[in-house]
């Protein structure tokens, strides 16, 4: 096994251990499951009400029918849940650790620092959003009526994962910015605010916003593209753009993170 392979399996094993321990621990706090479930249901109810309101005036929105938009809402809720389960808690902790000087501990470990800070926390019960979102998605697909083939499903899962990676990269860049800015308390609210835009397909927004939500904050790849995959609207061009952007973001975010670390090496007292 080459050193690089070894590093990669090391990263996977590390992530698996943290995930296992985190889940074991969270499962003890069962009351959180119910609190989160109620919250998920409330959020989806608000979303559905808004959607009903839109469709009381029109039959379609930017070329998307009502059940198709319902599918988008399902994916939006699922992806939001996944972000809050594994991405957001870890990245917020980086911001806190930088501010409070606790990042030192992650850096004195013989593991890749980026991997280590990305797997330390898991908010297991946020997965209620994934369940609720999945139910909404299934309902939407039943309403659309076209059968979803195994191939569609595989593509859906594939582009969903790619989309999550882009969101992770985006969050990593946000978190890395804290090496320069130090005070980034509101960054989560900022992200949540922008994320809300993802409950509609980005195609319905005006040009500048559409590009912003695609390449600046990559909601298009995380939500719209997977939604297209299960509603028969996906083009191969979109997949290619998503793939290329993801590779670019992985490289760039890692570079940015390392630059931030170098600054930390030089400046922290």
């Amino acid at each position: 096994m080459t050193r690089r392979d070894d590093q990669r399996t090391g990263a996977v094993r590390l992530a698996a251990t943290f995930l296992r321990v985190g889940v074991m621990n969270e499962v003890q706090y069962r009351i959180n499951f119910f609190i989160q479930l109620v919250q998920s249901l409330l959020t989806i109810a608000t979303g559905l009400t808004a959607l009903a309101l839109v469709f009381s005036h029109t039959d379609e929105l930017g070329g998307w029918t009502k059940p198709q938009l319902l599918a988008v809402m399902g994916v939006f809720t699922m992806v939001g849940g996944l972000i809050r389960t594994v991405i957001q808690p870890n990245m917020q902790r980086v911001v806190e650790d930088v501010r409070e000087g606790r990042l030192d501990f992650a850096l004195t470990k013989p593991a890749d620092a980026q991997v280590l800070v990305s797997v330390r926390d898991v908010r297991f019960w946020q997965l209620t959003d994934v369940i609720v979102g999945l139910v909404v998605l299934i309902v939407a697909l039943v309403q659309i009526g076209d059968s979803v083939s195994a191939r569609d499903l595989a593509v859906f899962i594939g582009v969903l994962l790619v989309g999550l990676v882009t969101i992770y990269c985006f969050w990593l860049m946000l978190a890395s910015a804290s090496f320069w800015l130090i005070r980034m308390n509101e960054v989560q609210e900022l992200f949540d605010g922008i994320y809300r835009a993802g409950q509609y397909p980005v195609g319905i927004y005006p040009g500048w916003l559409k590009y912003g939500l695609t390449f600046l904050v990559p909601l298009a790849f995380a939500i719209t593209v997977p939604s297209e995959a299960v509603t028969g609207r996906l083009t191969w061009q979109a997949v290619a753009v998503a793939g290329a952007t993801t590779v670019g973001m992985i490289v760039f975010s890692r570079w940015f993170w390392r630059r931030g670390l170098r600054r930390y090496d030089g400046a922290s007292a």
Binding site: G10, R13, L14, T17, F18, V21, M24, N25, E100, G101, R102, D104, F105, L107, T108, K109, P110, A111, L116, R120, D265, G266, A267, S268, A269
Partner: protein, 313 residues
């Protein structure tokens, strides 16, 4: 058999660029456009060597450069000048081969997962350091025994007291059997009993495993209990490097007499040990004293004196 020193530090220096800003709104706005920085020398051309198995005390007041030096040795800060090496590795760039053999404990910060029982955090450390299971279990149970953690390790860390947390923290940072321990103020904020407990553990650990220990503290008692050798650092420079005994001989002989008078006024007098009886007698004879204490001069004063005794370069 000749052995290589574990830590080699040569002319090591660290300068921080600190933003300066006058108070007030106008100055704040000005600094938005043009940021002025000032160079602060935290560590200034420091050199020393530490041999395997040594326990060295790094002594100095707050802001003396102790932690900065330690952080450079642990690879967390890059030196601005000079060199250092630990176990033959340059810490800059944090090579995994080095990180596997060292550990860093900071008294005022904790690294165990806050909401998890320590046992789970230990498990995570096992994954990070890739410790073989058998070794891990043996050492874990040994540390639990030595530090008397039996009733503590299955509670979430947040439910532990400060001292308990520190003990658990130390156990967690030793699971990979590091050859070099960097302990930054490990007893800060702890009560006397717990301080003693931790000191005696570090001493035992050093004997048992032959690990090299570098300990910073501003408690003289820590250093007295643990270290044969001390390095005194002040304003980023080494003022003293040698046997603890000779430091005490030269500088710690002062005692402070504090008397409280009937009218509530307090008088403090510093005097060398030999003259303390005379000084106290004089104080008692000349004043209407209601209370009297005699204590060793605080370490800050001792170091201040040490600093004054060395002409500034």
């Amino acid at each position: 058999m000749p052995t290589e020193p574990v830590v080699v530090v040569e002319q090591l220096g660290k300068v921080f660029q600190v933003p300066v800003r006058e108070p007030g709104l106008r100055a704040s706005l000005k600094s938005l456009l043009h940021r002025e920085t000032r160079a602060v020398v935290a560590v200034d051309a420091v050199s020393f060597r530490i041999e395997p198995g040594e326990v060295v005390g790094f002594l100095g007041p707050n802001g003396a450069g102790k932690t900065t030096t330690l952080k450079m040795l642990a690879g967390l800060l890059h030196p601005t000048s000079g060199n250092c090496s630990v176990l033959g590795h340059e810490p800059k760039g944090r090579p995994a081969a080095l990180l596997r053999q060292i550990t860093l404990v900071m008294g005022n910060r904790n690294q165990l997962q806050w909401d998890l029982p320590a046992l789970d955090s230990f498990e995570l450390n096992r994954a990070i350091y890739r410790i073989p299971r058998a070794d891990f279990l043996r050492l874990r149970d040994e540390l639990i025994e030595l530090l008397e953690l039996q009733t503590l390790v299955d509670k979430p860390v947040r439910n532990l007291s400060l001292g308990e947390r520190m003990k658990v923290e130390i156990a967690g940072s030793l699971l990979h059997q590091p050859k070099v321990l960097f302990l930054d103020e490990p007893t800060i904020g702890l009560d006397i009993t717990m301080q003693k407990r931790i000191r005696s553990f570090v001493a035992d650990y050093n004997k048992r495993y032959g690990a090299t220990v570098m300990l910073t503290s501003h408690y003289m008692a820590d250093v007295q209990a643990l270290c044969k050798r001390v390095i005194v650092i002040h304003h980023g420079r080494i003022l003293f490097d040698g046997a603890l005994a000779s430091l005490a001989e030269r500088f710690s002989l002062d005692k402070t007499v504090t008397v409280r008078l009937a009218d509530g006024e307090e008088i403090k007098v510093n005097a060398p040990r030999g003259e303390i009886a005379a000084a106290t007698g004089k104080l008692l004879a000349e004043n209407d004293v209601v209370d009297l204490t005699i204590e060793d001069a605080p370490i800050e004063d001792v170091i201040e004196r040490l600093f004054e005794s060395e002409p500034a370069k």
